[in-house]
């Protein structure tokens, strides 16, 4: 559970509760409709290097020595209705290989009044992932087309979780749908710590309020330069500088089977602040997303992200001690079949450019990934998925662990998800 309910939550509950009190008769706290739960088990086989969760540089959830059967995730989603236009949403998860297996992924209160005109709006307050991912449109912030999200959205899931307030405004101009989303948040000051020192990865472990993400082992970059001044676990929900971050997103839906969105995120982190082994990182990124349905049973998704993060202190050359630029893109195509099954292919590209201090701490990275996934509902309560993910990447920092900077890894997963 959330140890200290955040002031935002209390504020939101007060705001939304008072605004919607006439509808209190519609309160529904516990019923079959308000609770969802599932257990996701996997059979996996992976070659190549040690997984990142075990202190390695591996790019996939399971590393070269993790073959076998695993419990991947057990989840309970609670969606009580507080009033006819006010809902709450809480995702509690259990992920065995996390350093804190139990945690709350998202927990927010949402007020969505019934539209009276084409201008509609909604507000949510609490803990949530900013709306960046096009892939996470399943219940409980899960992917629906593949088992493993793209590099971009894997990173959102691990290092871009915020606590704050978000407003969404939608309207229709001629035949065009337009939307504006604005979010203001606390926490998430360490965002890009893992992206810098471990690099991009493709996995389906999402952060919780208590998550600590392991940095790679070894006498390398971060431990060499910062020593005890950096915890071996990065906490994505740390607040170290007392500054608010924000994001802005625009959505456009032309009268065509197409949707385009553009987003800017800035955590406004103070890069010089250190607290309990957690540094503030000044992290900002742009994301562009496109959804296209070229035919009724085909769907194409694509995202491009580019960002920059810095931390530490100014060097004599003007760069920060830890100063990275990164970008990634993916293109995904899904074919849906009449029996409810779907076949998806995805290509990922990712890179990190290290702008400073590469002799001591080189975080350069380049890589590609290819994913093929097939998902099929077996019954109303059982889904079967099979996925092959291959990642090629180049990262000089691997040399510190005695590895070839060039690594290739293939992960095969068969997933069975039993849900209520």
């Amino acid at each position: 559970m959330i140890r200290n309910p955040h002031p935002w939550l209390a504020l939101a509950a007060a705001l939304t509760g008072s605004a919607a009190s006439p509808g209190l008769a519609q309160t529904e706290l516990f019923s079959p409709e308000t609770v969802k739960a599932w257990v996701d088990v996997r059979l996996t086989a992976t070659d190549g290097e040690r997984g990142w969760l075990d202190g390695g540089f591996g790019k996939t959830r399971y590393g070269g020595n993790d073959d076998g059967a695993h419990l991947a995730q057990a989840v309970m989603v609670w969606q009580p209705r507080l009033a006819d236009t006010v809902t709450a949403y809480v995702i509690g998860q259990y992920v065995p290989e996390s350093d804190e297996p139990f945690g709350i992924e998202e927990a927010f209160v949402k007020w969505k009044p019934v539209p009276k005109s084409a201008l509609r709006y909604s507000v949510r307050a609490g803990q949530f992932f900013p709306p960046v991912s096009l892939e996470h449109d399943g219940a409980g912030w899960t992917t629906t087309r593949t088992v493993t999200p793209s590099a971009i959205n894997s990173w959102i899931g691990e290092e871009v979780l915020v606590q704050g307030l978000e407003g969404n405004l939608q309207t229709q101009v001629a035949e065009h749908g337009l939307a504006l989303t604005l979010g203001g948040f606390t926490k998430n000051d360490t965002s890009a710590t893992i992206l810098t020192w471990r690099g991009w990865a493709l996995h389906d472990i999402s952060a919780s309020e208590s998550t600590g993400l392991p940095l790679p082992d070894g006498p390398q970059g971060w431990s060499n330069t910062l020593g005890a001044n950096q915890s071996a676990h990065s906490r994505p929900l740390a607040e170290v500088d007392g500054r608010l971050g924000y994001y802005v997103r625009l959505d456009w839906r032309p009268p065509a089977p197409l949707a385009v969105d553009a987003e800017f995120y800035d955590n406004q982190g103070d890069p010089q602040v250190l607290r309990n082994g957690q540094w503030g990182w000044a992290t900002r990124f742009y994301n562009l997303g496109v959804t296209w349905q070229p035919a009724q049973d085909w769907e194409v998704l694509g995202q491009y992200m580019t960002g920059q993060s810095n931390m530490g202190w100014r060097m004599s050359n003007g760069f920060w001690a830890f100063d990275v630029k990164y970008d990634s893109a993916y293109l995904l195509a899904t074919r849906k079949f009449g029996d409810g099954s779907q076949l998806t292919g995805r290509i990922d590209y990712f890179a990190v450019k290290d702008l400073s201090w590469r002799k001591k701490d080189d975080n350069t990275e380049r890589g590609h990934a290819a994913t093929v996934a097939w998902i099929r509902p077996l019954t109303g309560h059982l889904d079967l998925a099979a996925e092959v993910l291959h990642v090629n990447s180049y990262r000089p920092a691997r040399a510190i662990q005695g590895l070839d900077p060039r690594q290739a890894q293939t992960q095969v997963q068969i997933a069975l998800k039993a849900h209520l």
Partner: protein, 208 residues
Amino acid sequence: MKALFPSLIVLLAAPAAQAADLSVAINDTAGKPVSFAVVTWTPKAGAAIPASLKSAAYVMTQKNVQFTPFVLAVPVGATVSFPNQDRVNHHVYSFSPAMPFQLPLYGKGQTRTVTFTKPGTDALGCNIHDSMSAYIHIVNTPYFATTGPDGKIILKGVPDGAGALKVWHPLMDAPDHEVARAMTAGKTNAPQAFSVKVRARLTQNGSY
């Protein structure tokens, strides 16, 4: 079948004047049949809507987190029921000027009704499930039908005389999403064909 039912009533209700059937085929610009197009015949002199047609059963179901049918044509004065066959609640609304309404949260096995008194189009939504979308097209004539997957309908018992044949589709790329053809109906009517531009749109994943 649903489209035929009101037409049969029309046939029984309008025996006075000379009347004949009028068959209409709607294709898109690529030649593929267009479903969910509402075809109406409006006599120049106007036509009263029989009480039996107004009181017929018109149903907009919520099932699998979708409205069914996607397009429902009803005459002015008709009452539409909105049964919920899902295990989750829905909150159906429309802010369309033709008939703004909302049906606050109701669950499985329950139904609500709305009477539509003005011609026009109501775009429906569900405040819980953004992916749900459908249209009720309210017509001011007893001669109407909605195309199925073959894009074809037969308007039964169209009376002799001048009038307007109109085709409406919610996603048609035309003013008011409608095209019209002035013509005179006779003892026999040549089949009418329309080629219309329908814009595809994005369908969202619907989930509980």
